[in-house]
């Protein structure tokens, strides 16, 4: 079930960039990315999946490179949401492979994934709208630079958050107290 859902997400991840501008090169790279993703999902291997996802991002970049039109934020945010969900689903399946999963766990997890998908999509869209607002007052060449600075700031924030991860949690066990 988890693998089928992850496979569907991988199909979207690979198919979306190819559908924008189909070509022999993107098709070939898409096939390789698909094989890597399939192997990652089949073996529940996050590194393989990451390789496939990285290749699909390269395909996406290759597709966008020659285009000169205005940015398409909806497709990009959708791709980001799919990428995020794909890793979470495969990570969940890999972490709990072979374990007895209580019947209450999957519904709660699906609810979280749906909420997370919607939330991140909303944040992405709001960010793109606000960036567009700023872009109207800025010259066109400054547009990517602003987004890059914002993304870099967020990225550095995340790195700092990871470094300062919480250490102390208070478990209470009756055996420990004896």
């Amino acid at each position: 079930m988890m693998r089928a859902f992850a496979g569907l997400l991988a199909l979207v991840l690979i198919g979306l960039p190819i559908l924008i501008a189909p070509s022999e090169l993107t098709g070939a790279l898409g096939v390789i990315a698909g094989m890597l993703c399939a192997a990652g999902i089949g073996a529940l291997s996050v590194p393989l999946l990451a390789a496939g996802a990285a290749l699909s991002l390269v395909v996406y970049a290759l597709v966008l490179w020659p285009s000169v039109g205005p940015p398409a934020p909806l497709g990009a945010v959708a791709l980001g949401v799919v990428l995020s969900l794909l890793f979470q689903v495969v990570g969940f399946a890999a972490h709990f492979r072979g374990a007895a999963v209580d019947s209450h766990v999957p519904p709660g997890q699906v609810r979280y994934w749906v909420g997370n998908g919607i939330g991140t999509a909303v944040v992405g869209i709001l960010l793109s709208i606000s960036a567009s607002g700023i872009a109207l007052r800025l010259p066109l060449p400054a547009y990517p630079a602003v987004v890059a600075l914002g993304a870099l700031a967020v990225f550095l924030g995340v790195v700092q958050a990871l470094i300062r991860a919480p250490k102390g949690v208070r478990p209470t066990s009756r055996e420990d107290q004896r």
């Binding site: 996050v46 590194p47 990451a50 990285a54 991002l57 996406y60 970049a61 966008l64 490179w65 940015p71 398409a72 934020p73 497709g75 990009a76 945010v77 791709l79 980001g80 949401v81 995020s84 890793f87 979470q88 990570g91 972490h95 709990f96 072979g98 374990a99 007895a100 999963v101 209580d102 209450h104 766990v105 709660g108 997890q109 979280y112 997370n116 998908g117 944040v123 992405g124 960036a131 990517p144 987004v147 890059a148 993304a151 990225f155 924030g157 995340v158 790195v159 958050a161 990871l162 991860a165 919480p166 102390g168 949690v169 208070r170 478990p171 209470t172 066990s173 009756r174 055996e175 420990d176």
Partner: protein
């Protein structure tokens, strides 16, 4: 408890970095926007930094079981705060196998909720092991962060050798002075009639044999054989073993020793145990239920401890090896030192029975079906037959025991042979 970021985070951060790089190179805003959902998910690690609180208890259904018995392990977790994903794992020792349920499970708990996680394990072989170490992982829903803890509530479980019922046993040739189930050749108080003799002052009236008295014209009394117990010493060869874990020659010998001990003790006999190996250990002969527990505990820890030092049976005190005891030796006859010890016991006048499990059959279980292995097994079997014939010539009673045979069937020829050969005690 320690909090840490999972391995899933690394690839996501790498993808974010790659997307940003590609965005800078291509100059397209879409590649920056692709990173937004990933970055929001990463940010959630720092935002949801709550400290989950819970109480965990661990219970095992029994502390003392027999081989192949099942144990129920119950872990109860009570959540004091919301726990999105709780992973519980209890590693199992090699001597037990999972019978039902799972020793790794995942739950989701709301505040105040209590869950009972139960699974069953089957004890494969005798020995001691500890249960009660539970590894706990509290996962974030995103799978990017977890808290780890280990709860130790060590519970020692003893797995005793499984016994099989023995209705008939080899009868000791010599009896002791205490009351038991064997008919002694000496006359005295008992149920088994022996001889008649003329009445003497002091004889009880109820012992008068009225039929003989009427026929012979004077009073005669019936004499009865005394019913006495015997001393049985089980001698376990711990110099070497052959076979797979929990089905090795030592395990089978320990099972046989436990079965014999239980059967003899139920007949009011005194039973002792000598572990003859690299480390000479013994249990003094005794009777009753406490003695059974002592013997079973000794058999529980019987292990092969190899040593080049030859242990002399002269080291064993006389009260452990009483002179008129029946010695039942259990051995696969892998070490010459045990054979010499048998010869020593015979020379000292002990009534010795050697119950020898066939190591060749045990080895065939894990050897390949190649012609070389088959030839080696045949040669080994021939050597063993010659060894047993040599021991029989020395006067030792040797019973060959194939692992697939029930113990009662193995002992049957010995019971018929020894029935009428009891010596005066």
């Amino acid at each position: 408890m320690s909090a840490q970021v999972t391995r899933l985070t690394g690839p996501i951060v790498s993808l974010v970095a790659l997307a940003l790089l590609l965005g800078v190179l291509s100059g397209r805003a879409e590649l920056f926007l692709v990173t937004v959902p990933l970055l929001v998910t990463l940010f959630s690690i720092a935002l949801r930094a709550g400290q989950p609180e819970y109480t965990l208890t661990h219970e095992v259904s029994a502390a003392r079981v027999f081989e192949r018995d099942r144990l129920t392990v119950t872990v109860t977790v009570t959540a004091h705060s919301r726990i999105p994903l709780l992973e519980l794992f209890e590693p199992l020792p090699s001597t037990v196998a999972l019978a039902s349920g799972d020793n790794r499970a995942v739950f989701s708990l709301e505040p105040g909720q209590r869950i009972r996680w139960t699974y069953e394990v089957q004890c494969l072989g005798r020995g001691r092991f500890t249960l009660g170490t539970v590894h706990v992982r509290l996962w974030d829903r995103s799978g990017l962060r977890l808290h780890e803890a280990r709860h130790r509530a060590a519970k020692l479980v003893r797995v005793y050798s499984r016994t099989e019922p023995l209705r008939r046993l080899p009868q000791p040739r010599r009896t002791q002075t205490a009351v038991g189930n064997y008919v002694s050749p000496t006359f005295g108080e008992g149920l088994e009639p022996g001889d008649i003799r003329p009445f003497a002052p002091g004889d009880r009236v109820r012992h008068v044999n009225w039929r003989s008295s009427l026929r012979l014209g004077r009073l005669y009394v019936t004499q009865h054989h005394q019913e006495r117990n015997a001393d049985v010493v089980l001698m376990l060869d711990t110099l070497g073993y052959v076979g797979l874990p929990s089905a090795s020659s030592l395990d089978l010998c320990a099972r046989a020793a436990a079965s014999l001990a239980r059967a003899y003790l139920s007949r009011k006999d005194r039973v002792g145990l000598i572990e003859y190996g690299g480390f000479l250990d013994w249990v003094r002969p005794g009777s009753g239920s406490p003695q059974m527990e002592r013997l079973f505990d000794a058999l529980l820890s019987a292990e092969v401890m190899f040593s080049y030092v030859t242990k002399d049976l002269a080291l064993v005190p006389q009260r452990v090896l009483p002179p008129q005891a029946l010695v039942i030796a259990l051995s696969p006859l892998l070490d010459e030192r045990f054979v010499k010890a048998m010869g020593d016991l015979i020379a000292r006048g002990f009534d010795v029975v050697l119950l020898s499990i066939c190591p060749v059959d045990l080895s065939r279980g894990f050897l390949s079906a190649s012609p070389v292995d088959a030839l080696a097994c045949r040669l080994w079997a021939l050597e063993r037959q010659a060894q047993i014939a040599q021991l029989r010539r020395q006067g030792l009673v040797v019973i060959e025991w194939r692992p697939d045979q029930p113990l009662e069937l193995v002992l049957a020829p010995l019971i018929h042979r020894r029935r009428w050969r009891a010596l005066p005690g």
